[in-house]
Point group: C2
Chain length 318, copies 2
């Protein structure tokens, strides 16, 4: 199901890969896919994906290696993550993660496994096709999770990768763990005519954005929106509407984009989370989106679901 | 924000507790709350919550102990999870988890720490007030997570509880982890007039329900709904609409309830996940909801978001 163009944020674009999730546990099936000449390997170096750019760096694509073209020893199936199969070509795509040191050993001249670029930059620059970005997001989220689950949380034993990288199993106690995805609510607070945009201390100069926070145990999406809005800016939410979601591999989140209706009252800011926050009308918000606000205030770019929520408000669609 | 009655599933009801999440890191604040006479402790024994029932077991409430009334040694602040503060009374509520063996040592006669009841039964029986159920769900999800993160996934070191139980920190490498919540899509597939209900092999006799599955890394809510529907029953989804969500502490999920529109075609079932699945019209579904279907087929009760999705379809609200 392809979402209608312009209606969903960039990283939401679906890959065209068939994830074949029901067959991840079949080692013979994965080994056969990997042995086919059309199989490809996406390389992740220190959490960054290896890409190929054109000369002026205005466009790029993922470097999808033939297994035989990977510099250094051929990795085993167990060392890779199975991302899926391209339906048209039957080509399976695997991710292979390396430390920067291992990459340098495999590719001393730095011609094959560089440049490795962090996915946030790729998303912000908008140089990667949406399907490539989505594939890279899946790979990076999965690799980040493997990195966090080297040892068993229950017994401290060594865990190993199973099911094409979609399960880890403890070699000591047999405990199974599955990829972690953290639900995060991200909400545009509005009274209908104005919206709240806030600055977190770590934002680049002049940038403001929507509020956001993790969904906690025991919460619904709606109650998380209400709690975070109350905590961060002191407003009591009167209604919550879900609009769209976006995978966000930092390290492995699902951004759940909502509109929160709240009365137009002065904001009471939690200084631990928010540096400043204000109500803005549509005119101001349109200038921020266009990077033409007189005070130099701007909002995240089209790679982020925050941009999409803010743009829909600016367009009067909410 | 209290959702309108009847419009959201049971476990979605918000507790009236203020989670005070910004102050969880202040040990002095938590210690002072625990020292106040109105502080209360909810006890979790082997993953089950301790309750008090009336004589005929038609109603129950959580057993919320004064710290001084807990049998056995007084637990330290570090051994408990801080759930929040009741705004009216200023009473802080903490969760304290015990193994069945520890509970038996503390309460040899089994009068104080029994009965401990699993939260799924409590939800199904509908005997616990919604706020109690929501509180218990938070406690059990948090306790389940602590149990899974005794050791550091990065280095294998021992982790210890911090921030009132909302963070675990590795004593060896300092790695921080936060409570895990797994986003799960649960979707009623409908062509407008009929809906698909399916049986999983482990369901009780005669029970059917909606489809469901984990949101995977790199997916949106909508793409997870489309993938799971394709995988489980072979239908291509034409549209997805989010309706409501529900925390589900088994072990720590967030159920994201959606309607998925699909064409009325024969179903192609994945036997690994689904035992059987069929299209049903509103008349059949109403009989299932009332436990009056001639074939003895029934659907989950009002504790589950599946019931709520199915009931809205039956009422023609979708």
């Amino acid at each position: 199901m392809q979402p209608p163009a312009g209606k969903t944020p960039t990283l939401s674009a679906m890959t065209t890969l068939d994830r074949s999730s029901a067959r991840r546990g079949e080692t013979d099936y994965l080994a056969a896919l990997l042995a086919r000449p059309q199989a490809r390997v996406l390389v992740v170096v220190g959490g960054k994906v290896v890409i190929r750019s054109n000369a002026d760096r205005t466009a790029a694509q993922l470097a999808l290696f033939h297994l035989a073209d990977l510099p250094g020893p051929t990795p085993s199936l167990e060392a890779m993550q199975f991302l899926g199969v391209q339906p048209e070509t039957g080509a399976a795509v695997f991710a292979f993660a390396l430390s920067p040191e291992d990459a340098a050993r495999r590719d001393p001249t730095g011609t094959m496994l560089a440049p490795a670029v962090d996915i946030r930059s790729l998303a912000m620059q908008g140089v990667l096709p949406a399907a490539d970005l989505s594939l890279a997001a899946t790979a990076v989220a999965l690799v980040n999770w493997h990195d966090e689950m080297r040892y068993c949380g229950r017994c401290g034993g060594v865990m190993e990768s199973n099911d094409g990288g979609w399960k880890r199993v403890c070699t000591a106690c047999g405990h199974n763990v599955f990829p972690r995805t953290d639900p995060v609510v991200i909400m545009l607070v509005t009274d209908g005519d104005r919206c709240v945009l806030a600055r977190q201390p770590h934002f680049p100069d002049g940038m403001v954005s929507t509020l956001a926070g993790f969904v906690e145990p025991g919460e619904t999406i709606e109650s998380a929106v209400a709690r975070e809005t109350e905590e961060e800016i002191g407003l009591t939410v009167e209604g919550v509407r879900y609009l769209a979601s976006q995978p966000w591999p930092f390290p492995h989140s699902l951004m759940i984009g909502c509109i929160a209706n709240a009365p137009h009252r002065p904001l009471s800011i939690d200084p631990a989370e928010i540096e400043s926050a204000s109500w803005w009308d549509r005119g101001d918000v349109r200038q921020m989106l266009a990077h033409k606000h007189p005070a130099g205030i701007w909002v995240p770019g089209p790679h982020a679901i925050a941009h999409w929520l803010i743009a829909r408000f600016a367009d009067g669609e909410l």
